[in-house]
Amino acid sequence: MGVELRPLGVKCNIACQYCYQHPQRDVEESTKPYDMDKMKEAILQEGGDFTLFGGEALLVPIEDLEELWSWGLEQFGSNSVQTNGSLITDAHIAMFKKYKVNVGLSIDGPGDLNDVRWAGNLERTRKLTQQSEDAIAQLAKEGLKPSIIITLHRGNVGTAEKRKRMGAWIKELDQIGVRAARLHLMEVESESIRAIYHLTEKENTETLLYFHQLESELKQLRFDIFSEIESLLKADDHGLSCVWKACDPYTTSAVRGVEGNGQRSNCGRTNKEGIDFVKSGLPSYARYISLYHTPQEHGGCNGCRFFAMCKGHCPGTSLEGDWRNRTEHCNVWKTLFELTEERMIAEGEVPLSTHGILPFVEQKLIEGWSQGINPSIQSLIAQAAQQQKVS
């Protein structure tokens, strides 16, 4: 869990229609100056390596990028950047190599499948998409192995034809050496975006299952969500994504944001007001105690056998945009859990969701959260094993 450094806040060279940072962009001042010393001091205080983030991280002038990455290499031994890839030049690539920069690239598909990542007009959008595609190819050629983030929506997987083209593109990425891709279900910030781009539960589920099937045809590229669901059902929650880890929206422990002026901030996914709230002190797990008890018809998770694993998912995707509710993608995740559970049982395994230890795990999670602790499932299983040994 590292630091997300945002020297230019959420400033970006494109305006993806669904971007979860638009609430901030809509109301914030357009450009804020950044202070190198304050940023470095804040990173050191946060005590970890950092990912250069945005908005678009590569809008930072190249000489400042060099200063940050040379410092990052010296301090932490490597660097990371998350970018849309459209601004990557040979000079950037040289710096990625020199300063050991791991590159994460957000793109929703080739050509018109990426139109939702809108750059003001169609011509510019397609041009920048092409630049992003070229950057992926160049990075792969240089052996830099970028990881890809793909958000799913009607624009890229809304029809069987589009899904097929996405599949072909993924195969190409696999061929050129991309090893990891993360699939995001679209987080909706406004009803107009929902109406145009959001997939139905059925479409989201079918799409994820399509990619799951596709994974078996790929040489090396893997989508992490499928393996994560299986790990959770095997009671192994070590090293999984933040969405499964009972994230507190006031502290977002997986995202320790540092702004250009050194101010600490939270993950933008939970920011619905458009205000970059200063990170709170200690985390609270009230959302998870509440979801455990609240009936499903009221937006909670009461009685769901997958709750200990899913925990209502990311608060940024909550029903009605209210973090006190469970995720609006509940049925999609539930279907994936059910299918994986079914397969595991068929293979003779006992998933956590049907295991006799589940009530103990749930009880211990609630106890921990009530005391401000967020125990891992793994640690609770170990605790149960220890207790059994003693008795």
Binding site: A15, Y250, K272, I275, P295, H298, G300, D322, R324
Partner: protein, 278 residues
């Protein structure tokens, strides 16, 4: 208001809108808290008041104990919550001067209301208090109050507040005169600046929203979440304000000051993208 059958353990978590807002107002909060405590104690010693209730957080309670003893003020405290459960600690403190017996005090509508709510094991009563207020507007589960209502109850988790924990209405004449008396005495005892800050805060727009046992209170400079009664659906109270602080943030929703033009989503080019996507 459908209340579900579970209890969220006590908690409080806060988010300032900016470092600047925190630097400015955190210090002011401390000064206001000190001013209310000192003013109340001095008014009791002087005999302006025979008794007074304060709602205070744990550390303030111990400060009051320390200050009250040499002034011959009796402190009778009610712990608000469950002493066996870890979390933030609040007290309702009844202070009486040496001429007054705390056990023979007359009851009032606020004391009766507070007792009744506690007997029901409820944490808050503001929703009903607004429903008992004459001038509110209702749209579904959102109640809107005009400015001029008593908003001090919303600040109980952040500031020392005067009066009992609960009140039956937010436009109670008795409460209005109590607040008025507090502001007068703050000035008399040399806390003019603190009185101005407090008065300013009470005139800001505020949103209180309870759902699933978690209340989220939004003010222009800080938002906080804390435990409340577990309702099945969100219940929201909005108090329209007269003022907005310099340190207050612009935002996309109430109570934050909205921009007339949203830089991205109102722009022509963004709308052209929507048109292309649809």
């Amino acid at each position: 208001m459908e209340v579900l059958d579970y209890n969220i353990p006590p908690f409080k978590t806060m988010g300032w809108v900016s470092d600047k807002a925190k630097e400015t107002w955190n210090n002011r909060f401390e000064k206001i808290n000190g001013a209310i405590i000192f003013t109340t104690l001095k008014a009791l010693v002087k005999g302006d008041w025979d008794s007074q209730y304060l709602i205070v957080e744990g550390w303030s309670y111990f400060k009051i104990l320390e200050l009250a003893a040499p002034m011959e003020i009796t402190v009778k405290a009610t712990f608000l919550g469950n002493e066996n459960v870890k979390g933030p600690v609040y007290y309702e403190v009844l202070l009486t001067n040496k001429h007054t017996d705390p056990d023979t005090l007359k009851s009032s509508c606020c004391i009766a209301c507070t007792t009744a709510i506690r007997e029901k094991n409820r944490k808050e009563h503001v929703w009903q208090a607004v429903l008992n207020t004459k001038a509110y507007q209702q749209e579904g589960q959102i109640l809107s109050l005009s400015s001029g209502s008593d908003t001090s109850v919303f600040w109980q988790r952040l500031l020392v507040t005067i009066g009992t924990q609960h009140r039956c209405s937010l436009q109670c004449k008795r409460y209005a005169s109590l607040q008025e008396a507090l502001f007068d005495k703050l000035q008399v005892f040399g806390y003019e600046q603190e009185a101005l800050w407090l008065s300013e805060m009470y005139s800001w727009p505020v949103e209180w929203c309870a759902s699933h046992g978690i209340c989220e209170l939004r003010t222009p400079i800080i938002k906080l979440a804390y435990d409340t009664d577990p309702t099945a659906i969100p219940h929201t109270i909005r108090v329209e304000g007269d003022n907005y602080p310099t340190e207050g943030a612009p935002g996309k929703r109430f109570p934050y000051r909205k921009r007339k033009f949203l830089r991205i989503t109102d722009s022509k080019s963004f709308k052209a993208g929507l048109q292309h996507g649809s």
